[in-house]
């Protein structure tokens, strides 16, 4: 079962030309098939709940199983007709937009500071930036709620702040990754050619970091839109996010209108996710 010499050579050649990795574990045919079966199973596992929901959303009535000819947009109409869900949807979009813009702006400024000015302590700077990820989100939410009850802070502000906090680590990671990819020489070159600090930023830095910034924006939007933990304690009348609205609804009744709503969410998020992938690559954006 040891690695054959040609596989070793092939892997060496591969690593120099294409970065395609030779399988490290040379298993017997049965082992390989078993492994692939596991992987396929995992993908089914990952995607099944989503696919099921999408399927159920086109059901003509309460059934979860139906034949395709009976598919209908009934529940989508019901979604559109529902005042609660519609306004929650709109609110979620608004909130995600605000939170993502704030997170991206703060993220950009911070990322620039960390990458260009923190030489030796950069790793520490990055670790500190990840702080909100180290804490359970409900803790963040509860703390802000507590502050709300003691200080005259608008509740909406607390909700926005909470979302900005959970989006920041991701926004930062994405922009830092992008900035680190810009050789420092480029800004120095622009400077020696006569560009003032501001022009260096607009002519060189921003255009090159734009994909990272855009992906940070979109990724933050996705996180804010799908968040439950923060909104759980900070939502209220007139400021209920879609996930919370759904959560409340599900606890009392079950109706495929939820399937329609979540399907819309799925497509929205997937579209955005694809955009991030095109721009910067999701792995870099997630930095996990």
């Amino acid at each position: 079962m040891s690695l054959s010499p040609d596989a070793a050579c092939a892997s060496m050649a591969g690593s120099q030309t294409e970065r395609v990795r030779e399988p490290v574990l040379e298993l017997s045919a049965a082992g390989r098939h078993g492994f692939m079966l596991l992987i396929v199973g995992l993908y089914v596992f990952l995607l099944a709940p989503l696919l099921v929901v999408i399927f159920a959303s086109f059901s003509p009535d309460q059934r979860n199983v139906y034949s395709l000819s009976q598919a209908s947009l009934h529940w989508y109409r019901e979604f559109a007709a529902s005042e609660n869900f519609r306004s929650a949807f709109v609110f979620s979009i608004w909130l995600a937009t605000v939170a993502s813009v704030c997170a991206t702006v703060i993220g950009f400024v911070t990322a620039y500071g960390v990458v260009r000015f923190l030489d030796r302590r950069r790793e520490m700077g990055k670790a500190i930036a990840m702080l909100p990820m180290m804490v359970p989100h409900i803790l963040i939410s509860l703390s802000l709620l507590l502050v709300l009850t003691r200080f005259p802070v608008p509740e909406l502000a607390a909700l926005v702040v909470g979302h900005v906090l959970i989006c920041l680590p991701f926004a930062l990671a994405g922009i830092v990754a992008s900035l680190e990819g810009i050789p420092h020489d480029l800004e120095a070159a622009a400077s020696t050619l006569g560009a003032s600090r501001l022009r260096v930023l607009t002519e060189v830095t921003l255009p090159l970091v734009a994909p990272g910034v855009l992906s940070a924006l979109i990724f933050s939007f996705i996180i804010s839109f799908g968040d439950v933990d923060i909104a759980l304690f900070l939502s209220g009348p007139g400021r209920t996010t879609l996930p919370i609205e759904i959560f409340s609804f599900i606890q009392w009744e079950s109706s495929p209108v939820i399937a329609a709503i979540t399907t819309v969410q799925i497509f929205l998020i997937v579209a955005f996710g694809l955009a991030v992938e095109r721009l910067v690559g999701l792995r870099a954006a997630m930095r996990i």
Partner: protein, 363 residues
Amino acid sequence: MPDLSSRNEAVLHLEGVIKRYGATTAVGPVDLEVGKGELLTLLGPSGCGKTTTLHIIAGLTQPTQGRLLLAGREITRLAPPYRDIGLVFQNYALFPHRSVAQNVGFGLRMRKVPRHEIAARVRRMLEIVGLAGVEERMPHQLSGGQRQRVALARALVIEPSILLLDEPLSNLDAVLRKRMRLELRDIQQRLGITTVFVTHDQDEAFEMSDRIVLMNAGRVEQVGSPEDLYDAPRTRFAAEFIGEANLLEGTVVGTRGDEEVLIQIGDLSVPALAVRPGLAQGQRAILMTRPERVELTSRTEDDGTAMTVMKRIFQGDRILFELTTVGGQKLQCSAASIDSYRSIVVGGKVAARLRECRAFPAA
């Protein structure tokens, strides 16, 4: 040859420039003048401070002490955009999101030159560097050599007071490097542009420079033309860094005037020129002679010393011999690859004469 006799001709002055990081002195003190149209090279091993010095001239680093003057203006505290310099980076630093034409024209755009004029000047400069017709290409579509020329064009097109080059040829393969050296020097001379060039490659410095500033550990070891540095190195470091050198430690046993001394090394007694006046009788000194200045004959005559050949390395156009004296001193001799020398074999006895030696203090 540029005339450096009058101070007015010098384009760049560095006066007492020192760069410290905390308690460590990275560079300095450096006192330099670069004449109009001159190509001055900062030469030295990595970490000697040559790049830092260049960055100080460019304004990317601020000196802790000292003054810089460029074309009559004091630029010590001036930010890079205002210094009127052109800088070519080791990795070219081309803007990846801009075309060749946009890259080259960048500096002109910053100087608010009208658009049609930019286009004309960019085209002309690309021709000068040998890259006509690539205006619309993007940097990633160019080869290393082409990128280097674009970087050069970009720095030259703004007609700066001084051109600064930070090891621009290091990333090229050996063949391209040799060719670019000559082309670069050619362009520089044609345009008559004052240039400071940084490299660690001694051959490069020799082929291109009007003068060389040899640096080591942040200090200036020696300044001079390539010939000065080769014939008369003033320190052990200079002798070893430039070319090959035979360095033998001995004692001054005789002096004549300020310059001529006699050095005794074991059983060898060799006349030499002191590189600096003041070598005293009895002082420990280092004798230096270049391998090609060790003359060989096959008999002990004139004032040759008897030596045995320990190694013989055939190098094509030359033959390198390693010789040992009776007293155990080792010497390298580089001889032309002609019949009379080819016949010398390992173990053979030869007489060698050390010519044109230099001596400097052993400390």
